[in-house]
């Protein structure tokens, strides 16, 4: 494991407190709009997720846990919570798709829609499938609105570990964590920091190419990033990762390629190809530990190839973005070898 001076330091997540209201309130039906417009204090500042379920209590989540929401705000009692109606869910869906299901049916098929401001709405309901593929999602019964927060400075503590001043390049890096542990926030901030650069500290700005398949990283709306991803960043919004990486390499000659949530075999192939073009890779993947990653063939392949020079494990042990461990690629390889030969590492 590499020296990790900040191992016990929680990356300071200075929450962009109430910005979400400007983007989320317009998509809510009048009753919910009033409730959330009046939401204030800690509940509003730390809001991470709004859960709407048909015929069920309105709930919100933050890193402190879940709470019920009543007409007068957060309530500890289930009986005082507002009950969300099916009509309200339908109204949210129509507002999110701007009254045009045809414009977002591809995304909806995958179960989520990007919202202005980089937020995201996930949907569940009745799935209509055709030839074993999801054709459409109808009778929406639940919506989860995840609040995106650009936390400027979240990645600063990691910079010395990720940037090679001698070669003036970023190490190929993989950020690993379970969902909601802050890896996308960290990735976005690292993209911004590398894109803007800091010449005074010997770190020039880099051309950063971002493949934002799920519109979460840059939070593009009408193709324009809503979140700060740096002055030299080019964003391919809504583009499949593997295809997007190659498109960026061919068209924008990035020095750093950034993408979220690797997983498929074609993603691994694209990463391998992109590395061979000379671009650095900064990516994330879901997982709790190395063993989790090894269960996924495409990620396991990349790790065995020692393609990633830095592997960073995040958790929300002390708040989202807690850096647990930073490994060098060789360390991972040695560890994998040791595990394979039965030695406890």
């Amino acid at each position: 494991m590499l020296a990790c001076p900040h191992k016990d330091i929680v990356v300071k997540l200075k929450m962009a407190k109430m910005e979400w209201k400007n983007q989320i309130l317009p998509i809510l039906p009048p009753r919910l709009q009033h409730i959330f417009a009046a939401l204030s204090g800690q509940a509003a500042e730390e809001l991470e997720e709004i859960r709407l379920r048909s015929g069920k209590a309105l709930m919100i989540h933050s890193h402190r846990g879940e709470s019920f929401v009543g007409l007068s705000g957060v309530t500890g009692s289930f009986s005082q919570a507002v009950i969300v109606t099916a009509a309200e869910l339908q109204a949210v869906l129509l507002a999110v798709v701007e009254y045009s299901l045809y414009a977002r049916d591809e995304e909806l098929r995958r179960g989520y829609l990007a919202l202005p401001g980089g937020h995201r709405a996930g949907f569940v309901g009745r799935v209509v499938s055709e030839e074993s593929r999801v054709k459409l999602l109808r009778d929406i019964s639940g919506i989860s609105i995840r609040i995106a927060r650009a936390v400027k400075g979240a990645g600063e503590a990691l910079l010395p570990q990720l940037y090679c001043s001698r070669l003036q390049r970023v190490y190929h890096t993989l950020l690993v964590s379970a969902p909601q542990a802050g890896k996308t926030t960290m990735l976005r901030d690292l993209a911004r920091l590398f894109s803007d650069g800091d010449p005074a500290k010997g770190r020039p700005g880099l051309k950063v190419g971002i493949v934002d398949e799920r519109s979460e990283l840059a939070g593009c709306y009408l193709g324009v990033p809503q979140l700060d991803v740096g002055m030299r960043s080019d964003v391919l919004d809504g583009c499949p990762k593997a295809e997007g990486m190659m498109m960026l390499v061919r068209s924008m000659s990035p020095q750093l390629l950034v993408t979220d949530e690797l997983g498929r075999a074609e993603d691994a192939r694209a990463v391998e190809e992109a590395v061979n073009t000379g671009a650095s890779i900064l990516a994330t993947v879901h997982g709790h530990c190395l063993a989790d990653l090894m269960k996924r063939p495409s990620i396991a392949y990349l790790l065995q190839q020692t393609l990633f020079e830095r592997i960073i494990f995040l958790s929300r042990r002390r708040g989202p973005g807690t850096v647990e461990e930073i490994y060098g690629g060789e360390t991972v390889k040695n560890r994998l070898k040791a595990e394979a030969s039965g030695h406890v590492f």
Binding site: P29, P30, A91, L94, V97, E98, Y99, S100, L101, Y102, A103, R104, D105, L136
Partner: protein
Amino acid sequence: MCFKWAGAVLIVMATALWGNQQAVQMQRRVKQLEEFRLAMRLLMAEIGYTVTPLPRALEHVQNRLGDERVKQFFVEIVRQLGRPEVGDASLAWLRASEVSRGQLSLRADDWPLIMRAAAGLGGLGRESQLKQLEAVEIQLASHTASVAASCSRSERMWRYLGVLGGAALVIILL
């Protein structure tokens, strides 16, 4: 005598003007039906090619239309979409039809076709939405063609009728 002749001329002029007005109204009806057809085609392009959401697609459509009143119809839909109590595009289209009814030169038998475009608007997948609008456009095309054919016959008739009606009235009064 002089007054009689002046009155007769005024009567003939008034009825000729009325006849002409009817003819112009018919021409305007055909023109507006054609504008609606054009709007359908533009909307299909916005949906099929650029996959633009309705509020912006409708704005793009109205920017490319020539007839001010048809343009206003599309402005009205976008305005209705912005009202929280409307809540879906079909209703916004139907409300705009009600608001614009008096301002357009269309007749009662034209409106069911225009309103047919509201069915499922914004609530269908891309292919279904395109098929739906295409069906409306085809119906609108055949309706416009039959209205245009009857218009070219009736147009001349109204103009003659205006002048001849005025002349007949003058003869009766004299």
